[in-house]
Symmetry: C2
């Protein structure tokens, strides 16, 4: 679910979960509303990232965003709506960061691209740490709340798809070791990276150790 | 941190986080206290498993455990103390389940043992699902709370150690494919299994698909 630039709740538009409101609009005055919603989503993100999901209250979010509680209520009709929008926001942020890191590579090989994507998924810097904390909080909610689980499933499926496509493309380019089952390896690599996020965040593995494990897998998969 | 049988807060004993209270006692009357604390921990577990960590209140836990709110307060002086004890309880439960599954194997090969341990870590049945939900909730708290992070680090380190020892033993028994770096493979296998838990719980992977990925890794590692 992508919500880029679609964030306007007009008075006569339907209200519901963030994902139900996908209307795009070219009317300039609406841009402020989008910016305001993103500011609030970023505030939710920051409150979760520093104090956890349980700490998210209307009051804290308003204070963090520097807006009134009424303004938060204007944009989000329920806490769930606000959190789901914030979840989408964190994913957009993470994807934008990944794209940025990939574009910095110039003309990377498939292996270099996958490594950079893995690096962007791991909490190796402060931004990545914050995103991993927020994602972890949402994951915990998703285990008992189907709306969140649906969003997370989409996110997993999309990233897993990208992982598979990357290895298939590399295989066609002759870059993969023989006897490698690319679809399976793509899944294993993706799930291993997912499994490294928590240990790095909790401090049992350094980011460098985690990346060394990724490299070890990539060295085995690629010629 | 293990709290088996050490669960008594007498009037003149220090109070604090569960981990600070490690005194063992052989006095029979104390057994009831331990049972009571375990009952409450199990109630915490059930509330988290069905409604999430945010839903855990003194009232709900007392109702679920079938005891008075005063009784809960008698055994746990703070919500944190209660949750940390419950975290320990869920790990004991998970380890007991793992031991039970391993003992059911009779005389397993190293590969069979590791597969059974992986199966016990994945949410393949209702018990495993509940434990995974509760662990996920604690993980989310641990990302912003050092006491919880410390407990999780210990848990990760212990399981990672078991994973390494198992593969080293298998290597000495000549069961490992040549050119396999057992320590690295043990880490990758462990973290991949960790990374499979969420996707199985959220429903993007079936338990069978997750186990097939584990098998694929094991087939590569073992002769």
């Amino acid at each position: 679910m992508r919500l880029h630039g679609i964030l306007v709740f007009g008075a006569d538009q339907p209200r519901g979960l963030a994902g139900e409101c996908r209307e795009r609009s070219a009317v300039p005055r609406l841009v402020d509303h989008e910016a305001r919603r993103r500011t609030i989503a970023q505030a939710v993100f920051e409150v979760i990232g520093s104090r956890g999901l349980e700490a998210v209250s209307l009051r804290d979010v308003a204070a963090q965003a520097g807006v009134s509680m009424g303004a938060v209520q204007h944009y989000f009709k329920s806490k769930d709506q606000m959190l789901l929008f914030a979840l989408d926001h964190v994913r957009d942020r993470a994807l934008a960061r990944m794209r940025h890191e990939l574009s910095a590579l110039g003309e990377p090989t498939a292996k270099e691209m996958i490594r950079a994507a893995a690096r962007a998924m791991l909490p190796v810097d402060e931004q990545g740490r914050q995103e991993a904390i927020v994602s972890g909080a949402f994951y915990a909610v998703a285990t008992v709340n189907p709306s969140y689980a649906g969003l997370l499933r989409e996110g997993y499926a999309r990233l897993l798809g990208v992982s598979r496509q990357s290895l298939r493309a590399a295989e066609q380019a002759g870059e993969i070791t023989e006897a490698i089952d690319t679809d399976r390896e793509a899944a294993m690599l993706f799930f291993m990276i997912q499994g490294l996020i928590g240990p790095v965040l909790i401090g049992i593995l350094s980011p460098a150790d985690a990346l060394a494990l990724v490299d070890h897998q990539l060295d085995r998969i690629f010629r």
